[in-house]
């Protein structure tokens, strides 16, 4: 039965998409709370470079993407220490350069047949069984990490210095969060494409903010809105033959507009 379902690419895409929404919810909340939207975008843009890298050093694509994201995050930390450029300028430089270098590098590899549109905007048909393993393996890792580190992460988001005084290992938690972003980008790439990953992180979280009264409620609702976006988007893509990623984002955005219109005043 399950085997039969997994033979169908639509179901594979849907199951994979739900797995991604499961982790995009909580991580998206952190992106919104810690104002990391542009940072997330920069990491996601570097994913293309990661794909090229994985062909060069002969590792699975997901591994290549995770390594590149972590490398870029490290480069950001080093560059931002010198403080000669504003952070948004620096992020802009790295985001687009990483994307451009990735595209140029891939063009040198004619033997590698890649569907570029699929990489940039997501591809419903490309979801394989091994992708599902990656998604659920990644999701399990992230959810375990979040459960373990939740109090510290929340505390250092609320007030970093107060957290430090209370003995929260703020720096290590920041690294853990970056690692989780790298993983989610590597696994979400297939569904929404590298250009739209940040949207899947931010929009459900921002939608949830209107209704939530506690951080945990916001996370749960962000997951729910993520599920709705993925299901609706894939159905749209299936029925109307629209690109998967943009369809998911359009659905998420529709939810956001709807909740903003009827949700009324922010409660807490």
């Amino acid at each position: 039965m399950i085997d039969g379902i997994l033979d169908d690419f639509f179901w594979r895409a849907l199951i994979g998409g739900l797995g991604v929404a499961l982790v995009a919810g909580p991580l998206g909340c952190f992106v919104v709370w810690r104002r990391l939207a542009y940072f997330g975008d920069t990491l996601a843009h570097s994913a293309l470079l990661g794909i090229a890298l994985s062909f060069v050093i002969q590792v699975p694509i997901n591994v290549g993407v995770i390594i590149t994201c972590l490398g870029l995050a490290l480069a950001l930390v080093l560059f931002s220490r010198s403080k000669t450029l504003a952070t948004d300028t620096l992020l802009g430089i790295l985001a687009h350069s990483a994307l451009a270098i990735g595209l140029v590098t891939l063009s040198f590899m004619p033997s590698v047949r890649m569907d570029l549109t699929g990489l940039l905007f997501g591809d419903l048909l490309a979801m394989s069984r091994s992708d599902l393993w990656w998604i659920y393996g990644g999701a399990a890792t992230i959810l375990c990490l979040l459960a373990l580190l939740w109090r510290g992460l929340l505390m250092s988001t609320i007030h970093e210095e107060l957290a430090r005084v209370e003995g929260v290992p703020v720096e290590r938690l920041r690294l853990a969060l970056i690692l989780m972003f790298a993983i989610v980008i590597a696994v979400a790439m297939k569904i929404v494409g590298v250009l739209l990953i940040t949207a899947l992180l931010i929009i459900p979280a921002a939608t949830a903010r209107r209704l939530a009264r506690t951080p945990e409620q916001m996370v749960a609702m962000a997951m729910l809105f993520g599920f709705i976006a993925v299901t609706g988007g894939l159905a749209l893509s299936w029925e109307l033959d629209t690109p998967a990623g943009p369809s998911v984002v359009v659905t998420a955005f529709s939810c956001f507009l709807l909740i903003s219109a009827v949700g009324g005043k922010q409660r807490a």
Partner: protein
């Protein structure tokens, strides 16, 4: 009573090739209230942060009593509006149980806000929440960075008063930064005037005559401190109601005087010292 909680010896901090804190030595004992004053950019916050362990000292040594619990009250709580958070939850994140949280909030006078959203608190309520949070940790040393920021003038006096009471109840040491010189003087045992290095330090009444203090703050400030032993004859609680000493009629009278003195700036100083004489 003379137990040393923290000892700083020739602590210097250099940031981006700029000397921010210059060879500061001081010791904080149990029961002390030490106030750090100084102009902007004098390195007050940096010094505090090095005691808290947030900022590494470039040279010198800081030794804390083993097992010392520090309660930190930061300048402000600037919570992102995107993060929904209730007072209760914020307290619980500090690790205390519900009863302990309630007790601490009651002690700082904000128990009624237990279920409120942190976003809806006023400046004064936020400061009291931060103080309650530090209090709930049963600190041996309380560190406050401009605790009265964003609090109206009566609230400021009440807040400093509360800090002094808490010192008595917890028998802890207190070190704080303040700009509210005249208010803080009454509640302080020792004042340290910082301008990268320690300009002068001592008892509040002595320090205003110190040439180094006058040089840093100007004669006007030093003189106003000397005359400012002025106490309000009543206090307000958080809701603006008059509490303790003095009747409501007294309250309206003194507020009338206050209004007059703000209207007529030239007469402000005599009004103030006149107040002092009665």
């Amino acid at each position: 009573m003379n137990e040393v909680l923290a000892e700083l010896s020739k602590v210097s901090v250099t940031l981006n090739a700029r000397l921010i804190v210059d060879r500061v030595s001081l010791s904080i004992k149990r029961g002390d209230i030490i106030t750090i004053i100084g102009p902007n950019g004098a390195g007050k916050t940096t010094l505090i942060k090095s005691i808290l362990g947030i900022q590494k000292a470039t040279s010198g040594s800081i030794s804390l009593q083993p097992g010392l619990v520090i309660g930190y009250v930061p300048q402000t709580l600037n919570l992102e509006t995107t993060l929904p958070l209730s007072v209760e939850r914020f307290m619980a994140l500090g690790g205390c149980d519900r009863k302990g949280c309630q007790k601490a909030l009651a002690r700082t006078g904000v128990a009624h806000l237990m279920t409120a959203s942190v976003h809806h608190l006023s400046g004064g309520e936020k400061q009291r929440l931060l103080l309650a949070r530090a209090l709930a940790r049963q600190p041996g040393l309380l560190v406050l960075d401009e605790p009265a920021q964003g609090v109206d003038i009566n609230g400021q006096a009440a807040l400093y008063d509360l800090v002094r009471q808490l010192r008595d109840e917890l028998n802890c040491g207190v070190i704080m930064i303040s700009h509210d010189l005249h208010l803080v003087m009454a509640a302080t045992d020792k004042v340290i005037c910082l301008n990268q290095h320690v300009c002068c330090s001592g008892f509040p009444e002595d320090i205003s005559h110190d040439p180094a203090f006058i040089e840093t703050f100007g004669t006007a400030v030093a003189e106003s401190l000397a005359v400012y032993h002025h106490h309000h004859n009543h206090r307000h609680d958080l809701h603006g109601n008059v509490i303790g000493g003095g009747s409501a009629i007294d309250g309206t009278l003194s507020e009338g005087t206050l209004k007059k003195s703000t209207l007529d700036d030239a007469e402000a100083a005599p009004t103030c010292s006149g107040h002092h004489h009665d």
